[in-house]
Structures are given as structure tokens and as C-alpha cells.
Subunit: 308 residues, 2 copies
Amino acid sequence: MREATASAPATSANLGPGFDSFGICFEKPMDRVWVRRTRGSGVAIKVSGRGARGIPRDPERNTAGRAALAVMRLAGAETGLEIRVWKGVRPGSGLGSSAASAAAAAVATARLLGLRVGKEELIGAAAEGEAAAAGDPHADNVAPAILGGFTIVRSLRPVEVIRLRPPSRMRLVAALPDVVVNTAYARKILPREIPLHMMVENVGHASTMVAALLKGDLELFGSAMRDEVVEPVRAKLIPGFEDVRGAALSAGAVAATVSGSGPAVLAVADAARCSPARVGRAMERAFEGHRLRCEVVVSGVGRGALAS
Amino acid sequence: MREATASAPATSANLGPGFDSFGICFEKPMDRVWVRRTRGSGVAIKVSGRGARGIPRDPERNTAGRAALAVMRLAGAETGLEIRVWKGVRPGSGLGSSAASAAAAAVATARLLGLRVGKEELIGAAAEGEAAAAGDPHADNVAPAILGGFTIVRSLRPVEVIRLRPPSRMRLVAALPDVVVNTAYARKILPREIPLHMMVENVGHASTMVAALLKGDLELFGSAMRDEVVEPVRAKLIPGFEDVRGAALSAGAVAATVSGSGPAVLAVADAARCSPARVGRAMERAFEGHRLRCEVVVSGVGRGALAS
């Protein structure tokens, strides 16, 4: 095959107590990555679409480039590569923008090279791509971007991921305010040590979320989406966070939290019990009350990356 | 009603990453508690059965007495009480001996007083009883002792518990060596603070266990029963722990860990894939290799306390 294309959607990591472990996949927006074999051994990258200007083109510093290189190593392939990335997911939004590029690049490159490996290997390669953006490889966004649904990353080396299928009436509502949160900084301000009782609480909440998902109980899922470890620290970087969360809950969302490292706020809604669009408008108005314009995404739970 | 009786079985708390949160109910052994109204307002306690001699009779220091008093407060009842506890669960074994007495006492007293409350209130009362043994109320043993199955204690105040039904082929194999572990000491030696990454690992493992349970995948359940926070500290109090765990796994168990604060070692086995009795014998022999006699319990997952 001379060329291949894949798309991968936005994702939201953490979901409260599942820091660095839980992730969920949107249906949209998506990044698209097109790859083509070229002569020689160089990797050339072009980026267009949302926020393209700020994205590095150096293959080692570009998440799509680095993911493609990881797949090439997996395949033992030596070829030049041309990569074109079209960004649909806004960079720096907290919606897994770099993961969407890395996941799409991994899937497209595997297709191009005819590489037949399990999805966990592809997640591993995409997680390497994430290291270009975050410094360390991590899989809490690329796992749901590739597998779809709700994912639990149990282990990164080797990659071990559990995928769960949320009830079809679950809706994700993300409000992206016009502020910039630096991912590296959002990680740096986290506590290095935490009191043991906080681990106990998060294990209890996270386990409850998983049980609720498998029982199809979105109310219970939302009530357990609580975190006192990471969320309070990151919420401070988002002006009006508490008001936005309050607005989402008042409009019928079952829970709201910081999406990844922010600034997006993720609300979870049960489409059978409230209007997800109304939740989105309420969050938008709450941000406006803090003089922040914001963009709202309302989505079902997505099925992950697609090669085409 | 003038008198009432209830029984409650042994339980195992923690199950690896679920410290202070996860618990599971045995079918046997059991404690039995008989309560009777008496004149006046005093509470008189008699204890017989296994390890009865070491158990305090003062109602405030006896778990059954304190649980009964908590139920009386819930009911707004003022009566004298005679309580007889028959111990089937060996005290200080790590199999929820005090919880079995507290749970049976709470259920029997509620029945005696005609108190109609939810099981979560009864768990709260029994958890008060646990404070007599442990200093603080906790519910990780009384929750499964009352509800049966596998339980997640999300919150103690108010009591919020999720109950899951493990696959019927799950077997619990406990090996109780002849050593004494002081529960208060086993708690005191725990770290007060832990690195953030350990929380991430335990959240991932614990969530995976819950997902595995609901998917009926005992292999996955066992592979996620890992903990680097509490288990390594408590395992040191059990001579030969690593050998006993190794023996259980070699005999076909899916996992083994410290039961509660020990000294019992809990193995989980899939009766469709191995002989749980053989797992028990292997654990017994491993303890013998460390010159420790031990008692083995092989049980299905129990249904919790029963009033009769």
C-alpha cells in the first residue's frame, strides 16, 4: 500500500477519580491523518486545521510523527514517510487533541505498512507519540481514541487496557473556554504524595463508576465521579469552574469535572432524563458570567479510531 | 418480640488494591448472636465458642454489644438487653471475626426491636460496633457480612455500599496460620502518605477487578488483585507469605493476598478450572515449611447475615 488514512476522535481523560487511568471517547470532533511512503528515510509532516500553527513539525516533537515512528519500529520497516495531519480537535483544550493525532497516525501507519498487531500494541505506539506533547508516554487518551467507549488503562508497560461500553443514552458535553492551560504545568502542580485516605476514597469512587457503567446506572456513575486529589488543583486554572459545574448539574447533568488537564469542563448527561444541549448552553452561560467565551461540544460516546 | 437470633459469616477485606473499600463474604464459618429484652437498661454479654476467652464483655468494648447499642439508638428504644455471642469465626484471624459478631448483633437486635430500616443503616450500626475492636468505625467487613457477595464501601458517613454478585464458580480459600497479628498495629504501620502514582495503580487495578467481576472473568479479576501500598507492609507480619501465595498460584488459584490485616492469606480460585481444596492443601504445606500449623477454609461466596 502506498498511502493510508485514519481518523481518531476527541477524548476526555481522568473523569474524576480515574486520574491517568480512565478515559472516554467522543464521536466528534476528530483528527484525520494521511500517510504516504516516500523514498529515503526522512519523515515530513504537514499540519492543517484547528490550531495547526502552534504544532511542531519536527517528527520527534510531533505526536503524529512520533507515533508513526513507533509503528515503523514495531513493523521493522524502513521507509521515508509523508504525514499530513488535519486537526479537528483544538490543541490545548483538554480533549485529547495530541492523542487524536497520535492515535490516527498509529492506525494509518499500521495500515500503510500492513502491520497486523493487537490494538494494545497500537495504543503503546500512540502512547509513545503522546510523549512528544507531554514528556512521558501516557495512554489515558490514546486508549479510548483507539478503542472507543470507556477505557481503564491498567498498565502502560506492557499496555493493558479494559474497554467498557457505556449505555447508549450517555452523552458527553464539553465546554471549552477561551483560556490556555499548559499540560506540563497542569501536571507539575499535582501533589507528589497524597494521604492514604485519599487513595481509599478514589478507589471506592472509581470502582463504583465502573460498577455503575456495567449496571447501566448513569445516576450512580455521576454520583461517584468525585475526586479530591487532582480536580481541585486543576480546577483553579479554570476561571469559574465551580459555577460551570453547578450550571451543568442544575441543567440535569449527572456530573461534571475537569476534562484531562483542562481547560475543558466535561459534563456527563443521561439523554433519557435531560437535554444535553441545554446542559451545554447552561455551561456556556456560566463561562460568559466570568467573561469567557466558550465552545460547546455535545456528543455520544464514540467508537474510536477508523482506518479508511 | 422477646428474643431474636441472627448469624453472620466470615469476610475478607481489602482484596489487594481495595484497602478499606472492598470486601467479600464467605459462606462459612459464622458467628451467631442471640438477643433478649431484659428489664432495666443494662446490657449483659456472654461469649462462647472460638477464642471466646479473649473477648471483652463490657458492652462498649464488645463489638456485638456496641452494634446492638447503635441499633437501639436508631430505634429510639430503651430496654435492657441480654446478648449471647457464639463465635465460629476465630478472633484475630483476618477473616472479619469482630465484624461477624457486630453484623449478627445488629441484625438480631433490629429484628428484636421490630426496627425497619435499610441495610445501609444496619451496616452503619455494625460499623459502630467495629469501632470497639479497631478504634474507628469501618465497614469493609460488616458490609459484606450483612449484604453478602462482593462489596464496595464508597462512603462511611453516610454509609454507601455497592454490592456485586461474583460468578458462582468463585471459591475463597483462606489459610489461617497460628500467629497473632494485632489489628491496631497492622493499621499503625501503614504509610500515612503515598506517592501519587501508587494511587493511580490501585485505582486501575481495583477498577479492573470490578469490571472483571461483572464480566464474569475470574482470570482477569485475579490478575488485577495487586497492591503495592498495604500488602507489602502487612505481608511482613506473616512468616512465609510469599511462599504461601506462590503455592496457591501454582495450585491454580487466580490470586492470593493478605486477608484484611492478616494473618490469614486469602486465595481466590475458579472451581471450573482448579481444585480449591488442592489450593488449600498447597497453602497449608507452604506454611508448614515455615513451621506454622494452619487451618484452611474453603468456601463459596456467601449471602450474608441471616435473621432466624
